[in-house]
Symmetry: C2
Subunit: 320 residues, 2 copies
Amino acid sequence: MPTLLLDRNAVSNLMNMSDIIRVVEEAFRIWGEGKGNMPAKAYLLVDHGDFRAMPAALPGCAGMKWVNAHPHNSSRNLPSVMAVIIYNDPETGYPLAIMDGTEITAYRTGAAAAIASKYLARQDSNTLGIVGAGCQAYTQIRAHAELFNLSSINVFDVSTAAVDKLIRSFPGYSIKICSLEEAAASDIVCTLTPSREPIIKKEWIMAGTHVNAVGADAEGKEELEPSILKEAIVVVDDMRQATIGGEINVPIKKGIFAVDEVYGTLAELVVGNKKGREDNKAITVFDSTGIAIEDIAVAKLIFEKAQQIGGYPSIDLVAT
Amino acid sequence: MPTLLLDRNAVSNLMNMSDIIRVVEEAFRIWGEGKGNMPAKAYLLVDHGDFRAMPAALPGCAGMKWVNAHPHNSSRNLPSVMAVIIYNDPETGYPLAIMDGTEITAYRTGAAAAIASKYLARQDSNTLGIVGAGCQAYTQIRAHAELFNLSSINVFDVSTAAVDKLIRSFPGYSIKICSLEEAAASDIVCTLTPSREPIIKKEWIMAGTHVNAVGADAEGKEELEPSILKEAIVVVDDMRQATIGGEINVPIKKGIFAVDEVYGTLAELVVGNKKGREDNKAITVFDSTGIAIEDIAVAKLIFEKAQQIGGYPSIDLVAT
């Protein structure tokens, strides 16, 4: 029984944002129904970065993403983050596929935020603010464009070259470069930076805004003034991870925000155990840390597509 | 930059027990000197088994073994345990190689027990008792034969067919089938079964015996009567893992044995912080649970050999 090998090009060509939103939302539903299993990430620290093992199982699929974060890689012309997913048969444990997880990470993060926007943003939201024009900006735009009629996408980055590149990548989209304040004054705001200090001021956020706080994914990171969280309906992807390294981690450590001020999880919204937006004036925040069930759901999609198409390389990785 | 692919045949052909004993002992030394990093295993439970993520880093190498345990796989003609190792550059996080980890697991476990025997068994030990003639028996014999002059290898298994197969695999070795009691009456005894009740009686163990208790690797498993541990000098590979699932786990839970009765770790013996055997009459026990630094040290060896030889397949798994 061979193990399928899906490199970055193969995975990239099999990705389709509409399908990914569907399977990620379904993963949150199944997870919210108490099915599947997702132990805590295991962190391995090394001198110049770290690695995370992110295992997860859902009915019919299991596997693990192994992803590094080496912030100084750009000096070596390497990405900071590179991920590999081992996708297994949960019935036997057999490794069905080894695949690039870097693109999957980018797509599933965009998809999860767009799903949060579906439940938390005003239905008539038509302006999208993007803070940080790195690779996550691309999948946030792609995912939100699937679910919203975007009349205007307002992008801020410290690098205008990065914004120019983003604009050129989306011909036919109404994307414009703007100030941080203007980006924050959008119906849906996605914060996508590695900031360790609040960069989004409370006074910039309009009543009725939904914010996807995506950048904070480790201890010490934060992008929003804590007063935004204090007023907002705050939803997390995973309470444990959000408390440790999500947007709420610094305010919690400082005693400004408490875990019991979190309204609920995205899974609870998707299942219907908790209601999404009911008030057009409310400010809502989705604290996205990125969770392994998202990865494994997308890995399953990619594996099944590859199997269906056929012709991908494989090896007898383990004995049978 | 490509990722090397080393399937089971490739890994198997690159294995050499003498080299593996050397790098595993070196890994224990480095680990004992406080270098490297090994977070706790992350367990993922599924309906018919489990998966474990075993990350580790030592100076110059990092990676993770992803290994399943599906006890009912034999009914599907699949091994219960299949492992994949992702081997990374610790400087950048780049996945340098994907390799089969099944054979590496078997070899490094044999190597670690033989290293324990080197420090704990009598130097004149020349009889080896093997309890359980499964795949671990092969690497225990191979590893001990590297370090001891074995005049007789005494093997017990509930399946005589398994013992016959083992004997046929080692032409030129003095291996004989025997009773459980006879196997236990050897200078060095390796217990290699999945037993959940003590099978080795205290009265069978001679003064001066060294026991490698390898079978217990999960909660509820035990192979030795706890009175053996009470009298013995007990050394573990990792205190945390041994307490949770090693030979000492059940006696600890029953209150028969206490963590502070453990003499030390194999790393402490290798570094020289604690002395090995000093008394020819003492009974010694090595509680082996299998640790990730062993895997990563062997993965480094295999990767470097493969690089040196060249010609192995590779793919552009992640973008660079």
